[in-house]
């Protein structure tokens, strides 16, 4: 029997820094990592399958529960996919509002990432600071859809309700607060010698490898690849906005940190533009039999009432065919493949989960590094187990 020189350490599924129920089997030689095997599936809830048994509009609520840190992005991805399948044009105001909300969601997701990543590295105050600012974004959610996490606010063909009256004021307050918060974060981390030591040249992935592993989002851009679906394949009117793609150079954890901060700044820029130029108009497309009619029509018009009743009880029938619609979620390319079979339920729903695919690169990121780097790498990938396992 060969002499065993390594220790196998089981990290998770219950572990403070695996961001949920990720299990990582780490083979250690002293403090050095020999082999890393991520084991997923502890949070598998069969969301894709569940969606196939729901009416199109009912399946929407499942999407919130995937990447629960960025619910609006998921809503948006699903709605865009179904709208593509059904060939629905949404009013301009809806597009602008959706962009605004999606960018708020990006900030919110990045703030959670920043807080948890920092606490993984031992800087515990950051978590409280970022959660303080995140709270204000959640307040906007609450004002919009009534829910703080599982919003389901973006609906097929529009929004669930009209935007709240003080939406503009509320969001501007968020912008101001996040701007101030960013200064704090930069002060605490960007030039912090210990933080730089912990993240520079840690969890490095080259541009070629990042493409080969089909990484997306900050993981890809951190390595210097300028690919952002908002620019490369604009959806929901992103072509109307003036913003830059943030990208890194070395593909290490520190670059990804800087990149995400830049992304937050760009998102603030987009939000400001969206608020300034928010057009007037209806908050829902008028597509009889597919999108719910306005409430006042339902109360006073016979046809509207019938459509309302029919949509609620039996949904709408989608044509036969497959569509794929991807959006740039905070974590990367978040895509929906939806196959319609002529009935009122999707034949197949398949999600392209960015953090699941990004997570697959974990062994490549940390093998040969130190044990502490595993924690740093997991944090740097920015995974949400709800989305990894679905």
């Amino acid at each position: 029997m060969p002499e065993q020189r390594t220790v196998t350490l089981n990290m998770g599924p219950q572990h403070p820094s695996t961001h949920g129920v990720l299990r990582v089997v780490v083979e250690l030689d002293g403090e050095r990592v020999v082999k890393v095997t991520p084991v997923v599936g502890y949070l598998h809830t069969g969301i894709e399958k569940t969606m196939e048994s729901k009416l199109y509009y009912q399946a929407l609520v499942c999407t919130d529960r995937m990447d629960y840190l960025a619910p609006m992005s998921n809503n948006l991805g699903y709605c865009l996919a179904v709208e593509k399948l059904m060939d629905i044009e949404v009013p301009e105001k809806v597009q602008w509002a959706r962009v605004c909300l999606a960018e708020l969601t990006r900030i919110k997701s990045h703030l959670v990432w920043l807080g948890t990543h920092s606490i993984d590295l031992g800087a515990m105050s950051m978590l409280l600071y970022t959660f303080r600012d995140r709270e204000s974004i959640i307040d906007v959610y609450e004002a919009c859809g009534g829910q703080r996490m599982m919003t389901s606010y973006i609906r097929i063909g529009g929004l669930a309700h009209e935007l709240p009256v003080d939406f503009d004021k509320k969001v501007r307050r968020v912008v101001k607060q996040v701007n101030e918060g960013l200064a704090d974060y930069e002060n605490l981390l960007t030039n912090n010698e210990i933080f730089i030591n912990r993240t520079r040249n840690v969890a490095v992935i080259s541009a070629e490898d990042a493409i080969a592993w089909s990484l997306s989002g900050p993981m890809l851009r951190g390595s210097g690849v300028k690919h952002d679906l908002r620019k490369a394949n604009p959806y929901s009117g992103y072509e109307n906005f003036d913003f830059e793609i943030a990208y890194g150079k070395n593909g290490d954890a520190y670059d990804r940190y800087l990149l995400r901060l830049k992304e937050i700044r760009q998102s603030l820029r987009i939000i400001n533009q969206a608020l300034d130029g928010m057009p007037e108009g209806p908050y829902r497309a008028r597509v009889p039999g597919v999108v719910l009619p306005p409430k006042e029509d339902v109360l006073y018009k016979m046809e509207s009432m019938i459509f309302h009743f029919k949509i609620i009880t039996e949904g709408f029938k989608a044509p036969v065919g497959s569509v794929y619609q991807a959006i740039e979620s905070p974590k990367g390319e978040f895509g929906f493949l939806i196959t319609g079979d002529g009935s009122n339920r999707p034949r197949r729903v398949r999600v392209r989960p960015p953090s699941f695919i990004n997570l697959a690169s974990l062994p490549r990121l940390v093998e040969g590094g130190m044990f502490s780097d595993v924690v740093c790498a997991i944090g740097s990938i920015d995974i949400v187990l709800g989305e990894v396992d679905r």
Partner: protein
């Protein structure tokens, strides 16, 4: 004879009680200060301003079930918390906390035991504390604990050297090993040894943080990697002992630091004991502040920092001081 025994045991009892209360309220202070630094309020429910929180914590921990995992080495595992706690307490025996007072016509020294080799005693005793952590890590039968234990032994050995060397500067300047004489030499603010040993002070401060396993040097615990490290498998009062040990250690290095560099109990207007406590808690505040601010070092960086930065600096400091004293 009886008299000496009586006075000594009284003093020991008072010191122990004070240190234990200090430990308890150090946790309170930590929670309050960190909370304030993080936009929180900290404990508020138990008593006014949450002042009874440490007592509530202690009561809770005492009533917790004492879980002994199957795979532990019973004897060492049980001893480890004590081994890490007791040395921290012993330090206070030699730290003077006030001027001599006269009571019932008798001269009483405000120090547990006025050893003429006080500093050596402190160095010897604080080094023992690491055994508690190593034993706990080894005997827990858990890989996380073992890694915590190994890390901490390596860290302690590395930083012990710098810790000792940083103190030698002061000893050279003061030409004594007795803490009481050290304090007496720093009668006014201008005489504080921090002015004569600025580098020594910074080194002492840094090494002391590593000695007490506090952020940014809290490798052995590193809850985000090792889930608590050496104390992962402990519960109830055994767990509390480790924490009391940690806080007692913090208080100890703070007290020694105040004595060595800030004139100990010396100070105008206020009674000496108050000055002493103030200075100690100033150090504590600094530690807590650091904890709220910094991320954690990585293990290899920590070792590199200890041996490649702190150790040469401490040596340099010692040599320069020695040369100056010779002149």
């Amino acid at each position: 004879m009886l008299e000496i025994v009586l006075i000594s045991s009284l003093k020991v009892m008072v010191i122990m009680a004070a240190v234990l209360t200090g430990c308890a309220y150090a946790t309170y202070m930590e929670r309050k200060v960190v909370a304030r630094l993080q936009h929180r309020v900290g404990p508020t429910y138990a008593g006014p301003y949450g002042l009874l929180q440490p007592i509530a914590d202690a009561v809770k921990l005492i009533f917790k079930e004492d879980i002994v995992p199957n795979r532990v080495e019973r004897i060492t595992w049980g001893l480890a918390p004590l081994v890490s706690f007791v040395p921290a307490l012993l330090t206070f025996i030699v730290v003077p906390f006030g001027a001599d007072i006269e009571l019932f016509g008798r001269q009483i020294k405000m120090v547990g035991s006025d050893l003429n080799i006080g500093i050596l005693f402190i160095l010897a005793v604080t080094s023992l504390g690491v055994y508690g952590i190593v034993l706990a890590g080894w005997s827990s039968g858990s890989k996380y604990s073992l890694m915590g234990g190994i890390r901490s032994s390596a860290q302690m050995i590395s930083y012990e050297v710098g810790y000792g060397l940083s103190i030698i500067g002061v000893i050279l300047v003061a030409n004594t090993l007795s803490l009481r004489e050290l304090v007496e030499q720093q009668a006014s603010v201008g005489d504080w040894f921090i002015w004569r040993q600025p580098l020594g002070f910074i080194l002492y401060l840094t090494c002391a943080i590593a000695e007490t396993n506090r952020l940014p040097f809290d490798m052995p615990e590193a809850e985000s990697e090792l889930v608590g490290g050496y104390h992962t498998e402990y519960s109830s009062m055994r767990f509390a002992m480790f924490f009391m040990g940690e806080y007692a250690n913090m208080l100890a290095v703070s007290a020694v630091g105040a004595t060595l560099f800030f004139g100990g109990w010396q100070g105008p207007y206020l009674p000496p004991v108050v000055w002493f406590i103030l200075k100690v808690f100033l150090f504590m505040f600094f530690y807590i502040w650091l904890r709220a601010t910094f991320p954690r070092f990585r293990y290899d960086q920590l070792m590199a920092f200890g041996w490649k930065v702190l150790f040469p600096l401490a040596l340099l400091n010692t040599m320069v001081t020695a040369a100056l004293v010779m002149l």
